[in-house]
Amino acid sequence: MGHMEPAHTPPGPAPATPSAGEASAGRTHVTVAILLACLTIVAFGIVWLRAIPTGDMLPVLLVLALAQIVLQTLYYMRLRVDNRKFAIFFGGGVTLAVVISVFAHLLLLAR
């Protein structure tokens, strides 16, 4: 993938010692899963219990969703450690898509 890479490290997974790699990778997965679960419960709880004023609900929920998305893409989908190209194309594309659809939505509502 890289084009001219000064010092090339072979791509792809190569955990040095299987057992150690397994344990640490497994731990990340579980930690992220627990965090995601907590965020989901908080979001659900806010709505279910009507914990905060309705007016504040929207931004809070969006922030919680954003946090989950960031966790999943960075850790589960490994954008944090993987090749930068993926992050560029994916992040750029998603941003573009979101901006355009929000704008289109506003135009449709504005009428």
């Binding site: 993938m1 890289g2 084009h3 001219m4 890479e5 000064p6 010092a7 090339h8 791509p11 792809g12 997974p13 955990p15 299987p18 790699g21 397994e22 990778a25 497994g26 997965h29 579980v30 992220v32 899963a33 995601l36 679960a37 989901t40 979001a43 659900f44 709505v47 279910w48 309705t54 609900m57 929207l58 929920l61 969006l62 919680l64 969703a65 989950q68 998305i69 999943q72 893409t73 589960y76 989908m77 090749n83 190209k85 993926f86 194309f89 994916f90 750029g92 594309g93 998603v94 573009l96 898509a97 979101v98 355009i100 659809s101 929000v102 289109a104 939505h105 449709l108 509502l109």
Partner: protein
Amino acid sequence: MIEPSHSGEFGAPRGTYHEATPAENNKLGIWLWLASDCALFASLIATYLSLHGQTLAGPGPKQLFDLRITVTATFVLLCSSMTMGMGLEAAQRCDYRGVLRWLIPTAVLGLAFVGMQVFEFTHYVLQGLTLQVSDFGASFFTLVGFHGLHVSFGVAWITSLLIYVFRKKRVDQADAWRFEAVSLYWYFVDVVWVVIFTVVYLMGKVG
């Protein structure tokens, strides 16, 4: 004639040249596909947001949605993401038993999610929400159903991969990208669900 240019444009390349392997190409390809799929979902979500107020004679989101079902489904999908991660690690260790141990539950959880969605949809239809009755119905079923189709395709993909390794009775390093590809897809479907859960269900309940 051409001059060796100011920015050092002329000259032999430095460093070593790494030719992309097919596996690397596949992975970039998957990422591009997912990015493009995001734009597709963004279009459908914008459609839903623009039309969901049109409940007309049919029921609306507030009275209809039962968050308890949805939140359960969310947890099911979340668990499947975790097992998928474990399965991927196993595949990268070429651990055949580990792959079976983690990927079979992933597929089952995915199937459970689809089952719950089918149950949910039937429930709504019985309450009078159909594709035709209102544009809330149309845009809701289209968006959420489209996501459900994605999950179903994911289940089919995982199953096919299981059959593939089951036939070989082993997992090779050369197959690692297959697992990475399916896991990326699966996580992506999960990410989309987070958005749908928030935008359609939670916000629908808030009104």
